[in-house]
Symmetry: C2
Subunit: 359 residues, 2 copies
Amino acid sequence: MEDRKKDLSERKKIILKAIIDAHIENGEPVGSKYLTGHKQISCSSATIRNEMAELEEMGFLEQPHTSAGRIPSEAGYRFYVDWLIDRYNFTQGEMDELRHTLNQKQSELDSIMQTAVALAAKLTNYTALAIKPRQPRITVARYELLRLNEMTLILIMVIGGIVKTKYVHSNRPIPNEAAACLSAVLNKYVTGITAAEITLPMMMEMERVMGEYEYLVSPVIKAVCETISVFDGGELRFEGINRLLAYPEFYDMDRLRDMLALFEKKDDLLEVLSEETKHTADDRVQVYIGRENIVKVMDNSTLIFKAVRDHGKTVGAIGIIGPTRMDYRRVIATIDQLTRGVSEVLGDPSGPADDGKNS
Amino acid sequence: MEDRKKDLSERKKIILKAIIDAHIENGEPVGSKYLTGHKQISCSSATIRNEMAELEEMGFLEQPHTSAGRIPSEAGYRFYVDWLIDRYNFTQGEMDELRHTLNQKQSELDSIMQTAVALAAKLTNYTALAIKPRQPRITVARYELLRLNEMTLILIMVIGGIVKTKYVHSNRPIPNEAAACLSAVLNKYVTGITAAEITLPMMMEMERVMGEYEYLVSPVIKAVCETISVFDGGELRFEGINRLLAYPEFYDMDRLRDMLALFEKKDDLLEVLSEETKHTADDRVQVYIGRENIVKVMDNSTLIFKAVRDHGKTVGAIGIIGPTRMDYRRVIATIDQLTRGVSEVLGDPSGPADDGKNS
DNA sequence: TTTAGCACTTCAAAACCGCGAGTGCTAAAC
DNA sequence: GTTTAGCACTCGCGGTTTTGAAGTGCTAAA
């Protein structure tokens, strides 16, 4: 990797950066003449043309057609993000707003993520997403049952620090003491194991212990399994979908439709993201440019996200999605600060630590 | 109202209906010659032209420009929906699918609505929406507190048949017995009243009763209020946003953007819908055409929805949103059947009753 | 190695044009 | 009085042509 940095002469780097900056700014192909005005470049347009031709040969630039300027290729953006980009500094005001908004609603992870993702959309003006990754081996830490009425119980489960509730309807009246009894049994037999690990002998054992209330075991266990399977399914939430339309690259109806379909189907993207958020141990902002994304629809889009940690454990991720031509500097910085902020609100000490380099 | 029906001669009605049917079908302005082929119309194109001119004068039709055919005006659609439309009959297959899908997931209102709205989008091929209306005077029926760990309680509330949970963090250790004690106090003092009705004297009284645990009262009450205010905020969920793009009337980027923004902001629409769902006592499918909608963005769109009742109480609504030119027949029938189906699954006896006329 | 000059390419927007659909009107027919 | 045929007129749509600007690659000189 590091040697690739040396592949380019200093002047080529300046030119490449200037081209990408300009293209990000206005979205149009940039020509040699335009760069003449750039302060760090002091050669003529002809020289720049030669350099550009070489940069194209190397795969960092491409031409929509002869006689248009150059636009960055995916490799170009990749090089830019990896080596050329400089750090974006938030103004104090922006930082304040960010902190303030996040601290507003001091409560569940869910609502914090919701605020954060809304903020991400607003600050970057791209479509933002919040990811709750799949958790294939999730277990219940604790059960509690309440008797709601004659025929209905409320089943309360503490799963991965989150509380989930579910009704359980019975076809026979439920005596008052049955609820407490059943919670005790559940807590004894089915804590710390996954849904798949609940075996028939276990259920029979529970029914034996429950004595005359054995008829409640089966519906409750069914409810437990259902809840777990819904919970570990992961979740993907979008905010600011309409912001896509602000960018000419999404003016193509077909692409737009595909994109919206992607947003609605969620499964594909969730799959990918669950993998990524789980595996990447490092705490960097992840940047996937164009075809680096596994989902075909996102060929011309960039996905940027970073995991949110709560006391070292990955509990989700926040990111944005937009055209490959995007303001990487600002977006990367925003996502970085935002995830830090969320961790902070969650009380994670590792939050404010700051290293800055990103991949 | 009824006399307006007489305003139009039988022939005019046939012609108007034919025009609207044709326009719904193919989206293009329909001319006099085209109607000659219609089976119920047996006069020449010239006569039809005269009739059309009169219908235009009355405000039921309009011309995009001279020398184009006519398209229905909003008043035209309104008349069509009120008087001209005939009933759409589902095939047995369609009915079966509907029932079957709805019965799949026999559980919470939330997930039933989710299934229903997905089904609505699929069946109609328009964007579907599920509404949980605002409930300004919501009260908690029952409280329960669990001690999660040293410093945290889980607050469980039964609100309007739904269970909500929330963490309460304390700054002092919480003894085991405090939870039970506090639930008893909550159940005694703050059931059946709205958040606004919790007064300072009441809180002081509770603190007195709680004795040494009085430091828990304030954070818990705060949590209660927060939860209530979030809960009665109402909810609006969309499904199938990408289906908008299938219709040429949304090919205009600006309109599309506005529409998506509407979907994200939700507040406006929720406001309107909460009002409507609450006030309309009757069990009809509601149809709002074009500028009949209070929200300006929806000028060229139609909103169709119907309340979902659970044992007589309105618990939500399901609807669709689409271009003014839409297949009213099918959509109205679909929404009607769908809400009936949901009520049925919820166990509401009034569900399957069937009258059919709609406004 | 850099630069000025020039011929060439390509696309985008504007201008143009003909076609066809559909109308309104008038006058004749029923 | 109502219906119909006929006709002149209008207007937008789609395709083609024209024009112009932008930018390149190459060559030859500095």
